[in-house]
Symmetry: C2
Subunit: 325 residues, 2 copies
């Protein structure tokens, strides 16, 4: 079964720093024709457009063979984007895209509406549509990956900010004095204590205090390896995830006190270590957030995994389509 | 001139911990018949209702003499309120009000629609309507008084939170480890470094290091006196306001990175010391907020003074009236 032919379908692309993931998503949230490739070594905006258009045309062919068509295009990117304009403001990994109207260029080539959204915002929408936040209306979604991304949904709608750059929750300060320097230029940001990069750095820094840890060689230091060591009882790994849980809890308590969301959803690769940081995270939230709010908020792991961005990209495109009809 | 008789007017009351301020406000934002009394030593919710109703009836008499009438009632209170229900969730200074439908009781007695709002939320609306944030759509308003209150307006609307308790920006953590204990149960909250209470405490704590300071006797330690000493060059006072500026800047940078507002408005009594904390506040914001956002956000002193809550109370009542028509 390939699904109903009268259902709308969109081509979605998640333009990550490492991988470009593409798929077709229908109105029920079903993902078809998924593909994953290394993000091409592009040198110009046109290179990116060419790759996206080729992937969309391949999905067009597969869709036509299955008896249906793709009505719109939705792309998500890891950086600051101007959603109404469809243009990139800043994507650190792809600096040549700054100021480029990516949605416009893709729409022009493919002769269909195209939309551009931030990847962490899309992940929040994906989790609300088909993941951990189904039936919720107000949530913050944190993506703990190479960095820490965020998406804020209030009363069912993404809050984009006055200048298209809200929800930079990874750059909330959780260690104001003497904190580690962050790529954003600040120091003590949540990102330098709760990302995969941070897990590796903190392990490396604390290693000399744990001579019996198995994590003594640099080649072993990946966040996945540190997680596995923690599960196996390695004290160094356990201490690092405890620390990470404390900082994450401080950040979540701030978000709770500022936004009073119904739910906080935590995704990204580091989320897999939930069992290792949950206790410290929850203790900090309970000690620091307003008691009323700490009792009511649900803090849960994401459910859509790597598909959150693709699903959210599709949902914002379906919603836009309905708004413009 | 007493104003046009065909203009709508509302009775507003700001039920503070120390003072009860009342007035009539018309659609143009003009305040009439203002009165201020000590918050009565009430022992029951009915005592509060009686005082509010008496004040409203006095305004009714004055209004009738001037040839117009009052169409609605709007009360603001320093605590957590359920705006749609019109009921108090928790007002720390008036614990017997918990769970009481104050808007309902006042409406019943005065036979007119009545509305209840949080005081810091109302101040934000007041500043957007007639103060520093005129023509702005997205702002955070901080009220630096005995405590630190907050109001968040996004795309022109107050964000109340999923459980009526958003914008507790005074309880954002700005000193996670070793921070001063806060009345909320947490520690290191912005409120313990940027309120009038905090200014007094920090001065007292640092006094022994500044033997030449004029602020050596406890009786002199009020935030107003410390401000005046700072203006006169007292090094202890200057150091306290510098510290306060640093913590405030950390908090503002967080709000900017999370919400990306157009503007941050700072009101409350401590705002009067703006010249003493501005430099340190701005430096921290510039060092810690996303560069794009730090450049674009306007951080400004409030303009409505003690009237912000009254004006905001009126505005939310006029807006409610329009919604229900």
């Amino acid at each position: 079964m390939t699904g109903s032919t009268d259902m709308r379908r969109v081509f979605v692309a998640d333009l990550g720093g490492t991988h470009l993931r593409t798929a077709v998503v229908d109105e029920s949230g079903r993902i078809q024709f998924r593909a994953k490739q290394q993000t091409p070594p592009a040198e110009s905006a046109q290179d990116i457009v060419t790759v996206l258009v080729a992937a969309a045309r391949e999905c067009d062919r597969q869709s036509a063979a299955a008896g249906f068509s793709i009505s719109a295009i939705s792309v998500v990117a890891p950086g600051t984007v101007n959603v109404p304009a469809g243009s990139i403001i800043k994507v650190p990994n792809l600096p040549f895209l700054s100021g480029f109207n990516l949605a416009g260029a893709v729409s022009h080539e493919l002769k269909r509406p195209a939309l551009l959204e931030n990847d962490a915002n899309a992940a929040a929408v994906g989790e609300m549509w088909r993941g951990a936040a189904r039936s919720r209306r107000s949530l913050v979604c944190l993506t703990l990956g190479t960095g820490v991304g965020g998406g804020i949904i209030l009363d069912g709608k993404l809050w984009h900010g006055a200048h298209h750059a809200a929800a930079e929750v990874g750059h909330m300060c959780v260690e104001p004095f003497g904190g580690v320097t962050c790529t954003c230029g600040s120091r003590g940001c949540l990102e330098v204590y709760a990302s995969a990069t941070a897990i590796v750095r903190m392990t490396s820094e604390a290693r000399s205090r744990y001579p019996h840890s198995r994590l003594q060689t640099d080649s072993e230091l990946t966040s996945e390896n540190i997680f596995r060591a923690g599960v196996a009882g390695d004290e160094l790994a356990l201490e690092v995830f405890r620390q990470m849980g404390v900082y994450l809890g401080i950040g979540l308590a701030n978000l709770i006190n500022i936004l009073n969301p119904e739910m906080i959803v935590i995704g990204g690769g580091v989320m897999n270590a939930w069992q290792l940081f949950e206790k410290d995270m929850n203790r900090e939230v309970n000690e620091r957030a307003f008691p009323l709010l700490a009792d009511l908020v649900k803090i849960v792991p994401a459910e859509c995994g790597d598909d959150a961005g693709l699903l959210g990209a599709a949902k914002v495109a379906f919603d836009r389509d309905e708004e413009t009809q």
